[in-house]
Amino acid sequence: MALETMPDGPVVENPAMDKGPDFTQRAHAALIDPGLRRNFRRAMDGLMEKRAAQFADPVAWAALRERGAQARAAALARLPDLLEELEARCAANGIQVHWAETIEDGNAIVLGILNHHRARQVVKGKSMVSEEMHLNDHLAAHGITAIESDLGEYIIQLAGELPSHIVMPCIHKNKDQIATLLAANIPGLGYTEDVAALTAAARRILRDRFAAADAGISGVNFAVAETGTLVLIENEGNGRLSTTLPPLHIAITGIEKVVERLDDIPPLLALLPRSATGQPITTYVNMITSPRKPGEKDGPAAVHLILLDNGRSRVFADAQLRDTLRCIRCGACINHCPVYARVGGHSYGSVYPGPIGKILTPQIAGLDVAGDLPHASTLCNACVEVCPVKIPIADILVRLRQEAAQPAGAATPAVKGAGSRRHIAEALVWTVWRWVYAWPWLHHRATRLLARIGNWIPARAPLLRAWTRNRTRPHFAGQTLHERARRAGIDHE
C-alpha cells in the first residue's frame, strides 16, 4: 500500500465520508420524508427528557461535568506520554498494541492479525472507529465475514445502510421496517411487531455466530494508561461476548481515547450513559486488562489493541481544535440538535452525524470534502449546553467556517482543505458590509436609504427568494432607529 506522507501528517485517502450528493441535497431528501421526521422527533424528545431527569440537580451536574471535562483535557494535555504509558502497561499485561496512521494502516493491521490466527468468522461489538475505517468492507474483500452483533448495528448491516446515530444506529427505522427486514433475513421468523419476539430471534441467530466466531472485534470507550485497562460499556452483552467467547479479541480505538488514571473512570462513567440515553449506568461496564491467564477457563488467549490516528494528531496540533478530541461519543449533542432532529443522521454523509460530526468530520476528511457541514448549524448552542465534557462546539464550528473561507495559501493550514470554500462574491459582501458598518458616515446614509427603499427590493433577489419561500418578507421601517432616536431627542453622548 503506497502511503504518501506530508510533513504535517498523512494524506487521508479515504475520508469518513460518503461519496455522492452533498449535505443540502441529502437533507432535502430527508425533510420530505414525514415518517423519518416523525421517527427522529419522537426518539429525540424521549432522549432529551430522560437525560434532563438524570441531571436534575444543576449544582451536582456542574461539578461532575467539570471533573469529566478535566479528565479528558488532562489526558490530552499529556497525550503522547500517556499513549506510551498505555502501550507499556498493555504490553506488560500481555495485550499487544499496534499503531495505525491511516484507516488503510488500521485495516491492514486487523487483516494481518486475523490471517495470522486463520480467523475467517468474526463477530463485532459496536465500534464507531471500525465504521470510520469501513472495516467490514475491507474484511469482506479479503474473504472474512464480520457480523455486527449489537442489535442496532445488526439491523443496519442487514439493511446495507450506515448508522444514523453513534449510540443508536437504527434510530431512523420504525418497528414495521425492522419487522419486515428481520422477517426476510431470519429463517423461521414471520412478520411480527412484537419487540420481544424480534429480539429473541436475533439472540438465537447471533448466539450461533458467537459460538462459531474465530475472533471478536470491539471498540473501546476509555483506555486507562495507569493500568493498561480497556473500558467498554454496553447494554446488550454482545460487547462482553465479543471480547470473551472467541479465542482472539481485537480492540480498535482512536488515539484520543486514553485517560490518565483509573480514578478518571468513575466520573466519566457517571456522565456518559446518563448523557447518552438517560440511564444511570449501562447494564455492563467491561474492564479488560489482559488476555486469559493460565488457569482461567475462558476469555481470549490473545488481545490486540489498535491505536488509530487518521487525522487526529493533526486536530491535536491546534490548541483550539484540540478540544474536539475530548469527545466521549455520548451522542447528547446529536440528541439535542434541532437540525439533526429534522434531517436525520444520514444527511451528514459522515460516520459521525450531528454536532460532533460537524466538527470532527471536516477536520478528519478535510474542509474541501466536508466543508459544508460546519454551516449546517444555527449556532443555537443546544449541543454546547449538554456536552458532558464541555467541548465548545459552536466556537469550533465558527473556527472551521473561518478556515474554510479564508484566502487559500497559508503555508501550514491548520485544517486540511482550508480556503477551499472561499467564494469571491461572499468575501466581497462581507467587505462591503464591513465598510458600511464600521463607518458611521456611510452607515447612516446606507441604512437611511435602505429603510426607505428596502421594501421595493424585487422578491426575486437571491436572499429574499430563499427567505420568502415559507415566510413573508421582512418589512423595512421607513426610518431607522438612529433617526427616530435623534428625533425623539434621546441623548447620543
Binding site: 464591513r434 464600521a438 427567505w467 415566510r471 432616536a485 425623539a488
Partner: protein, 252 residues
C-alpha cells in the same frame, strides 16, 4: 451564566439598538429606551453605533467582524452599562468579543467593554427590580426563548417573570419552547429548507397554545417566526418584549 454580579443601579445607561431593530423594528428599540427612562434612568443612544458584528463572525469573517466590533468599542466609551434588547447581540458582545480580540492591541479594552454588556430583561429584573402595572385588556400570549439569551447570557426566566407581572396577561408555554426557531442568521437562507422545517414546527407549537401573540426578546427570531406565521395566514401577532411591556403598562 456570564452576567455580571448584580451591579448597583446606575444613573445613566447606554442603549445598543442592534442592526435588525434599526432597520425593521425601531419601535422596539424606542420602547426599550422608554422603559428605562420611565425607571428614572438617563439613556444614551450613541449615533455612531451600528452592529455587534455577529453576522460576519458567525460566517467566519473574523477580520471584518473585528473592524465593526471595534467601532462599537470605540463608540461606547463611558463606563456605563450597555443595555441590549437582544440576547443574541448581547451574547456576541459579552461572550465572544474577548476571544475575537485575543492577541489584539485593544484586547483589554474589548474585555472591559464585554463586561459592561447586559441584556434588557435581565437588567429590568435584576438591576431595576421593575414593577409593572398592567393596563391592557386580558390577553393570552406565549413566549419564544432565544437560544443566545438562554445559552450565552443565561437569561431564561427573567422575561417570563416580567410577563407574569402583567395581571391581564395569561402566559401559556409552547411545546419545545427552548428549541431554536431556525433563524441562525445566514443559516435561514443558506439552509432554507431546514430552516423552514424548523420554523414551521415552531409556528405549529405556538399556534397550539391558542395565544394571540408571541413575545420574544430577539428580533431575529421574531422576524423569522412572524414571517412564517403571516405566510401561513395565522391570526397571531409577534411583539418584541420591550414593545409589549410598554404597550401594556403605558399605552402605545
Amino acid at each position: 451564566m456570564s452576567q455580571p454580579s448584580r451591579p448597583s443601579r446606575p444613573e445613566t445607561v447606554y442603549f445598543f439598538g442592534t442592526c435588525l431593530i434599526d432597520l425593521f423594528y425601531p419601535q422596539a428599540g424606542l420602547a426599550g429606551m422608554e422603559l428605562l427612562r420611565r425607571e428614572g434612568l438617563r439613556v444614551v443612544f450613541p449615533q455612531n453605533q451600528s452592529c455587534c458584528a455577529q453576522p460576519a463572525r458567525n460566517s467566519g469573517y473574523l477580520d471584518e467582524a473585528r473592524a465593526v466590533a471595534r467601532r462599537q468599542i470605540e463608540t461606547f466609551v463611558e463606563d456605563w452599562p450597555i443595555v441590549v434588547p437582544s440576547g443574541s447581540c448581547a451574547g456576541m458582545m459579552r461572550t465572544h468579543y474577548p476571544a475575537l480580540f485575543e492577541g489584539q492591541p485593544d484586547a483589554e479594552r474589548a474585555r472591559a467593554f464585554a463586561g459592561r454588556v447586559v441584556e434588557l430583561t435581565w437588567f429590568l429584573v435584576h438591576v431595576l427590580d421593575i414593577r409593572l402595572a398592567d393596563k391592557g385588556e386580558p390577553v393570552t400570549v406565549t413566549w419564544h426563548a432565544s437560544c443566545h439569551a438562554m445559552r450565552e447570557m443565561g437569561v431564561r426566566d427573567e422575561p417570563k417573570q416580567l410577563l407574569r407581572q402583567l395581571s391581564g396577561v395569561t402566559l401559556v408555554e409552547a411545546g419545545h419552547e427552548t428549541e431554536c426557531c431556525g433563524f441562525g442568521g445566514t443559516f435561514a437562507v443558506r439552509h432554507a429548507e431546514i430552516a423552514a422545517a424548523m420554523v414551521d414546527d415552531k409556528v405549529t407549537s405556538i399556534a397550539r397554545t391558542g395565544a394571540s401573540a408571541v413575545i420574544s426578546g430577539d428580533c431575529g427570531c421574531l422576524m423569522n417566526i412572524t414571517g412564517a406565521i403571516d405566510k401561513a395566514g395565522r391570526p397571531i401577532v409577534g411583539r418584541h418584549i420591550a414593545e409589549f411591556l410598554l404597550e401594556r403598562c403605558h399605552g402605545a
